[in-house]
């Protein structure tokens, strides 16, 4: 693979192209985010700490964190099942299933939100039978979890699929011919190969879930301390003109996003190195 060095290159246009890139990046992304950080830093550290440690904020952060983590785990396991079936088996309807995987990614979050709420409400198609079993879904943390699993699916499936497709099935035959049972082969040969992309997909789903608003806000019921997620609390504080509180909580979310992005970079480097 050949890529031109900056100097001296036969290719022109590096300067202007990089200029446009950095200008766009700075104006649209970096400057606005810097305003958020600057606004946060302008207040005293004590006020910042006080704003992000009120019981309501702590409850919202804990709920967002735990539910996103749980939903990411479920999405990753479902992603493993779906990825495996879509890559390894041939059956009627496979292409259709494969195309559907992108739905949560393509569907506007507000549409996903009102649809899942209607389905899982106590009188909904899925909510009514579940309510009879004594499992309320809409307006409970479980409902938020359902929305987050829905949201995370394309990330986990699409991360695993290319890796599953690139696995050399001969290795599995070799393991089998050396006397390994199918389960042993799966556990000792396949799963270690899949682990980096499994974790990458789960982290993507987690990062998306942590910041998600639209698909959660309708189904969550938004009860403070119980079903109020962190992004919604930012919105609530903003609507109550509590700019300092909104800014402080948003800063916590922004720092978490940035750390997750760095983690993703490391995971992708690990995956590119074959998981070693």
């Amino acid at each position: 693979m050949k890529t031109a060095r900056v100097t001296p290159s036969l290719l022109p246009g590096f300067g202007p192209a990089l200029g446009v890139t950095l200008l766009g990046l700075s104006l649209v992304v970096l400057a606005p985010l810097a305003v958020l950080l600057a606004t946060s830093l302008r207040g005293s550290p004590g006020a910042f700490l006080a704003a992000v440690t009120t019981p309501r904020v702590v409850a919202a952060l804990r709920l967002s964190f735990l539910l996103s983590l749980g939903a990411a785990a479920v999405s990753a396991l479902l992603g493993l099942l779906l990825g495996w079936v879509l890559v390894r088996y041939r059956f009627p309807g496979r292409r259709f299933l494969d195309a559907l995987i992108d739905l949560p990614f393509a569907l506007p979050t507000a549409v996903a939100g009102i649809t899942l709420t209607t389905l899982y409400a106590p009188n909904g198609w899925l909510g009514a039978p579940l309510a009879r079993l004594g499992i309320p879904v809409a307006f409970t943390p479980l409902g938020i979890g359902v929305a987050l699993v829905f949201l995370g699916l394309p990330f986990t499936v699409r991360t695993l699929q290319p890796v599953l497709a690139s696995l050399d099935a001969e290795v599995e035959d070799a393991a089998a011919s050396l006397g390994a049972s199918r389960l042993e082969t799966v556990r000792r040969v396949l799963l270690p190969e899949l682990l980096p992309s499994f974790l990458t997909g789960a982290t993507l789903a987690f990062a998306r879930g942590l910041g998600e608003y639209g698909s959660v806000v309708f189904i969550s019921g938004n009860m403070p301390m119980k079903t109020e997620i962190a992004p919604l609390l930012v919105m609530t504080k903003l609507e109550q003109y509590d700019m300092a509180g909104a800014t402080a909580l948003a800063t916590v979310l922004l720092v978490a996003s940035f750390l997750l992005l760095l983690l993703l970079n490391r995971l992708e480097a690990w995956a590119a190195g074959g998981g070693r």
Binding site: L11, V28, L81, L97, A99, I101, P108, A169, G214, A250
Partner: protein, 275 residues
């Protein structure tokens, strides 16, 4: 691509395929069907009335206007980023790539909030602009800015890796043969990446049309003025006008389905562009 010979017993295979069908039906097919069932609950006439009432029409127009600005801006940015980051190596390149991805990781609510902080009446910039009669927050410019922010990485993410893997041989040959920058770019580079560019534009458009959280923070929810189609859906839903909400939602769902179809079609061609 031919399937690998299955190594599991038939019963295991059938069980796994059955579970996959069940998961997709539960999580994807039923919600998709529900949108249209709810939208047409009171018949096609009610659907038509809901999507053609003035507020819905205005929301649709605003959504299209915002996408018509945000998508070309990000396509141009993606091409510049593809050229600078795909065809050249320089110190700090990886940092720039990570920063371009940042809007993917940032909560849409945080994205909206930063524009309220930067351009709100109480900020220096916002105050100055308001003094000159330019409203950003709770107005259309804010909605456009927030949309450009959340869709920022879509085109660049498709183009940078592809342009990197295609290398610079063809462009250098064009240069040696006497082509200028624009000729090289338009006649060599662009045709090589056209499918990936379209693919990025489709993803960008779908997100621009459907963005909710970030737009919700900056729009102010002024009906007939700053409500985009997703915000219109929310407003109707919160007023228990469910059929109207789902009618508007069905329009957005059609956009999503069109984007998925286009994506399936384009990804096959985009795959051919990789060397």
């Amino acid at each position: 691509m031919s399937a690998p010979r299955p190594r599991e017993p038939l019963a295991v295979r059938l069980l796994l395929i059955g579970l996959a069908f069940a998961a997709i039906a539960l999580f994807l097919v039923i919600p998709l069907a529900a949108v249209f069932v709810e939208a047409f609950r009171h018949g096609a006439g009610a659907w038509l009335a809901a999507v053609s009432e003035p507020d819905a029409r205005h929301a649709l127009k605003l959504t299209l206007l915002v996408a018509a600005i945000a998508v070309p801006v990000n396509a141009a940015f993606g091409l510049a980023a593809g050229w600078a980051l795909g065809k050249f190596r320089f110190p700090g390149r990886n940092l720039v790539l990570t920063l371009i991805d940042l809007p993917f990781a940032v909560s849409p609510i945080v994205a909206g909030l930063v524009f309220v902080l930067a351009f709100g009446r109480s900020s220096l910039l916002g105050g100055w602009l308001a003094g000159h009669g330019i409203e950003v927050v709770f107005a259309v410019p804010g909605i456009v800015l927030a949309t450009v922010f959340v869709t920022f990485p879509f085109v660049a993410r498709e183009l940078v890796p592809l342009m990197q893997s295609q290398g610079t041989d063809e462009e250098e040959a064009a240069r040696v043969l006497g082509a200028g920058f624009f000729t090289t770019f338009l006649r060599v580079t662009l045709p090589n990446v056209k499918w990936a560019l379209l693919y990025g534009i489709v993803l960008c458009t779908a997100r621009a049309v459907g963005e909710f959280g970030a737009v919700s923070v900056v729009s102010g929810h002024i009906r007939g003025a700053t409500n985009t189609l997703p915000l219109h859906v929310e407003a109707l839903y919160n007023e228990y006008a469910f059929q109207g909400a789902f009618a508007a939602a069905s329009l957005l769902t059609l956009v999503a389905l069109a984007a998925m179809l286009a994506k399936a079609f384009l990804s096959r061609h985009a795959g051919e562009e990789a060397p």
